[in-house]
């Protein structure tokens, strides 16, 4: 499966970062990052806390522009275009804290995610004809992430795990070409992690996945290529097996060297 996903390597990357940096005052949260993601890639970004992973995500998704470098998305320079344009181009993301819409129902949340990449956001009439397909898609997406019994529930009543599922449902329903997940397994129980991993492995092959994950088991099972970040820079890239064996990675995560393993 990993090999199959790698097969599209001749194609132009759908995401290309050149020398991307982001400063916050004196802090270089992201510093000179070059990154190429090809269609169908399953890329995990690893790194200790404060490595700049989430900042990198925010820059790619358009939360704020980078202070250096350029970002090409699907062959277009999007360095300074707002997040909503990138969403419409086919980029969907989740957040470290599940940012779901607490005052609306599960179905409304997914409905809004489906509507967001279409036109008619300000349509001021109720139209069954317009809405029925989107509503059906929303319920279908709820079912795919295991929330079929909760479609009518208010999101504020959902558990942490259910909100994570909802986040992924919202990302999927937009049928993105590039899905960016920021620590999807954080705070999940062991069983929920297994479900999540299966959910991610079941994604269509042409969906490109960019994943920040602290849970090595999830990350290394889902990913076919791993980028390791530290202090805002990319320090190692490689296959999960290479990363597992890499000394620097062990040093960063465990804080000391394991000579003679």
């Amino acid at each position: 499966m990993a090999v199959a996903a790698q097969s599209a390597e001749s194609a132009e990357p759908i995401l290309r970062l050149r020398g991307v940096g982001r400063r916050f005052g004196g802090l270089r949260a992201v510093d000179g990052v070059d990154l190429q993601i090809r269609r169908g890639d399953r890329r995990a970004i690893l790194g200790p806390n404060g490595a700049g992973k989430t900042t990198l995500f925010n820059v790619i998704a358009g939360e704020f522009p980078p202070t250096d470098g350029t970002i090409d998305l699907f062959g277009t320079d999007v360095t300074h275009s707002p997040a909503r344009h990138r969403a419409k181009m086919g980029l969907a993301r989740t957040y470290q804290q599940s940012r779901v819409l607490l005052g609306l129902s599960v179905e409304d949340n997914i409905y809004l995610a489906a509507l967001g990449v279409r036109t008619g956001h300000t349509f001021p009439f109720r139209s069954r004809k317009r809405d029925a397909p989107l509503r059906a898609r929303a319920r279908e997406a709820a079912r795919e992430v295991g929330l079929e019994r909760r479609v009518g529930a208010m999101v504020s009543e959902l558990s942490h795990g259910e909100r994570r599922q909802l986040s992924i449902g919202m990302a999927r329903v937009a049928q993105p070409q590039l899905m960016m997940l920021d620590e999807p397994a954080a705070g999940l129980s062991r069983a929920e992690r297994v479900t999540l991993t299966e959910l991610l492995l079941a994604l269509p092959e042409d969906v490109t996945l960019l994943l920040i994950e602290h849970d090595m088991d999830v990350a290394l099972r889902v990913a076919n290529w791993v980028t390791m970040m530290h202090d805002g820079r990319v320090i190692v890239e490689g296959t999960p097996a290479e990363i597992r064996a890499n000394e620097t990675v062990h040093e960063l995560y465990l804080g000391k060297r394991h000579y003679g393993d």
């Binding site: 358009g62 819409l101 129902s105 300000t122 001021p124 504020s156």
Partner: protein, 383 residues
């Protein structure tokens, strides 16, 4: 309606309670329809008619807050713009104030509403990138700007206001025959209520609620957040402009003094006293306000320097304080608790769970933290 209306109808199996609900609604409807036969002229005009148009002004704020997370202090300024725009172009009997262009009253209504909505859109565009206390301050500044503009540009406001603004003929003299204006205000209130209820379940309205909950998230889902908020603000301006037209008909005049900071605060107080979790709260708050206004002037005892019949502002301030402290969700919140007791829905009627649906509360608390300066949230947390 998503949060508030759904939950009760779905989770209220007792037929008796639903029946009681419809009975109460029917009784209120009958009283409102027959009000001219039940109440005397003063009550009909000064209490009910006034409460209805003030309620429309307040519901424009309740709507923006409840569904858009925007605490706007510009609603009075916007209804003033509608009133002044109309007052200037229609015929005024003594031509001292305003431009007195001699348009027909209905043309004046259309002009007033159009001008107010366009300026509302402009105000919304200015304020739409701000949140919480900053949004509040920008709308307050716009409100003061409008007040001083009309105070100083006397070509448009007359000296001390535009008097005897002509009304559509069917209204007659609202002082001696208040019924036509009363029914007009009632009709407008019902129409505005139904319009807003409808709008919040359209794609526009659902997305607006998403933006209320998390603007950044909505932006990453593909929404143009600032545009959406500006359009919602314009919808609020449309509602407020209707109140502006009705207020001019009710007072037969408009002056800069009728859109000053006190009136701005009054509309905010009305919305909060009534309860921000439901649109109905605006009219309930307006009725309470009109009643307190009238009875405070009549029955307040004189206690040295502390209290006398002229101290309406003190009384309403104390009432405001009490309601905010005792029931952060205003009279609607109190009503919901009483209702829960009557229908034995919340058997123990714990203070934490009684008010409206828990979800509506969670939303309000979220919105309450966003809109600093809005009603203080109680610190209760739904899990």
């Amino acid at each position: 309606m998503s949060t508030v209306a759904n939950t009760p109808t779905r989770s209220w199996p007792p037929r008796g309670a639903a029946l009681l609900g419809w009975a109460v609604l029917a009784a209120v409807g009958v009283v409102l329809l027959l009000a001219p036969l039940i109440f005397d002229l003063f009550w009909l005009s000064q209490i009910l008619t006034q409460a209805l148009w003030l309620g429309i002004a307040a519901v424009s704020l309740t709507f923006l807050y409840r569904y858009g997370g925007m605490t706007s202090l510009a609603q009075v300024a916007i209804y003033g713009i509608a009133g002044f725009a109309m007052g200037n172009v229609v015929h005024t009997i003594n031509s001292e104030g305003g431009l007195n262009l001699g348009w027909t009253p209905w043309l004046g209504v259309v002009f007033g509403i159009v001008v107010a909505v366009l300026l509302g859109l402009l105000f919304g565009a200015i304020a739409s990138r701000s949140y919480g206390i900053y949004f509040l301050m920008i709308t307050l500044a716009l409100s003061l700007f409008v007040f001083y503009f009309f105070g100083q540009v006397t070509q448009l406001s007359g000296f001390g206001g535009i008097r005897s603004v002509s009304r559509p003929g069917y209204l007659g003299d609202p002082i001696t025959h208040p019924s036509p204006l009363y029914y007009t205000c009632l009709g407008c209130s019902v129409a505005v209520y139904l319009l807003l209820r409808y709008m919040v379940r359209t794609p526009f309205g659902i997305a607006l609620q998403g933006i209320r909950d998390d603007p950044g998230r909505m932006s990453s889902l593909g929404y143009h957040v600032a545009l959406h908020r500006a359009l919602a603000f314009a919808l609020g301006a449309f509602v407020a402009s209707i109140a502006g037209v009705l207020s001019v008909w009710f007072n037969t005049q408009i002056s800069p003094g009728s859109i000053n900071i006190q009136q701005t605060i009054a509309v905010l107080i009305i919305a909060v006293i009534g309860g921000l979790s439901r649109l109905e709260g605006a009219w309930i708050g307006a009725l309470a306000y009109a009643l307190i206004d009238y009875y405070a002037r009549q029955h307040t005892p004189t206690l040295g320097l502390w209290l006398n019949p002229g101290r309406f502002a003190t009384i309403i301030g104390v009432v405001f304080l009490l309601i905010v402290l005792l029931s952060p969700d205003g009279l609607i919140g109190i009503g919901t608790r009483v209702w829960a007791l009557v229908t034995r829905r919340g058997r123990e009627a714990e203070p934490g769970t009684a008010a409206a649906a828990p979800t509506a509360e969670a939303t309000l608390e979220k919105a309450g933290t966003m809109a600093t300066g809005g009603p203080p949230s109680s610190g209760r947390q739904e899990a």
